[in-house]
Symmetry: C2
Subunit: 259 residues, 2 copies
Amino acid sequence: MPPISASDRVHLELIKTACSNCNLRELCLPLGLKKEELAKFDDLVSTRKRIMRGDHLYHTDQSFDSIYAVRSGFFKTCVLDEAGREQVTGLHMTGELLGLDGISTETHSCNAVALVDSEVCTIPFSHLEDLSREIHTLQKHFHKVMSREIIRDHGVMLLLGTMRAEERLAAFLLNLSQRFTARGYSPAEFNLRMTRVEIGSYLGLKLETVSRAFSHFQESGLIEVQHKHIRILDIPGLKKLMVHQQPHNVRKSCRRGFL
Amino acid sequence: MPPISASDRVHLELIKTACSNCNLRELCLPLGLKKEELAKFDDLVSTRKRIMRGDHLYHTDQSFDSIYAVRSGFFKTCVLDEAGREQVTGLHMTGELLGLDGISTETHSCNAVALVDSEVCTIPFSHLEDLSREIHTLQKHFHKVMSREIIRDHGVMLLLGTMRAEERLAAFLLNLSQRFTARGYSPAEFNLRMTRVEIGSYLGLKLETVSRAFSHFQESGLIEVQHKHIRILDIPGLKKLMVHQQPHNVRKSCRRGFL
DNA sequence: CGCGCTGTTGAAACTTGTCAAAGTTTGTGG
DNA sequence: CCACAAACTTTGACAAGTTTCAACAGCGCG
């Protein structure tokens, strides 16, 4: 929690808060807006917020009024059950939207935690609804974003429901790789921002299993692991793992992509 | 596939298609609409469709233009991976919306299959978007429905990621019970519309495991099973299973509900 | 009436989880 | 800037849970 200097910084950065000159425009909510529409959108997204590593952007049961776009950094969202078991439901990087879970009950139903020092743009939801009644494109795009989240969730269900440990980790790495690529980073080399426990929680595995799978991938020459730093050496090899590794239930037609 | 009589039936039923006198109004999309708004909504939802048991309402890769409200019957949605493994992503009963997955890419990303003879109301999506720009309440409610779907998905992830077989089945039965109750049916007694394979696919288990869990619940006096007919004898007992059955990782605070 | 589909049950195999110990990294405070 | 503690990771051995394989029972349909 930065105490005094924070407000200074916020002032400084308000200048850049305008979506119209944000380099994430193409990944983020204002995608496809015309110049004058974008100007209206700029008014909507007026505040930016800094979240320090380990801090919550919001908690379960906290009242909902805004969604957030990740401006920089990395977040996890997770739910807890009655027994205190945690399930990581998503890992969110720049340009992605957080908080959609809160719309339904006007109360957040998961926790959003920064995995590194991060910044988010706050989008007051009722304003977004107002504006999306005006701007066709915005309405459409927002619906698509929500729908995309549902599709992503289905991919995770497929992963959790049908894949074995190493397939899950392969799918996870390929998915990260693809998302880093979309953001202009290397597809093959990146730093994990989360711990083995968190990866395990996302993939429905224990940390030891995750660790063993990493080690095994390394032995197989598929990747190089050094703690949180990953270099993927053989993308096709990882992909093959996902299709071939299962024992013997090859049926029917083949369809959807992973994750 | 009903060949000739179908069109007759459709005619007959068009009379009742109006949402304004549909008894599912309170569960379905037009929830909360005023009288005159409801009239507009009636125009939107003009066609109803019959889907016979085992038939698809839509397929993966089919182009998207409408969402559907289940008027009667029971559906599953499922995704297939490259290897042909199926994951059931949802089981949908009356009043629930199908097809939200298609909004994102304007192509469906899962299969929707009727588990019994069913009827759906077709809601052309672009019309829905038009109307929800006019009718505030509709816009808000639609967003809530999508958000609720995301929350449901998180619950399934929690189930798949953290629960053991019997906990999953207990959660599943309690969830069904609750949804039947919301529709005015008995909380304790119902017929499963899906096979053990489908239950297993939804819960990330093999059919044998599902079968064994059913048998075990019966031995424990928690339920009575006769093929697809289920009678729940001990709801609190099932709930206890979900919290107590895990070995020994009780930590932290407790929060979210199941499924 | 029998064939196929669905469901049940048992035994063995396999995958992942659990427990434990030791090694590594990171962050903090001196 | 180093040292130490805490957090994280790796690895092994063993246990537990789930899947696999197989055989059989029940129901429904032609």
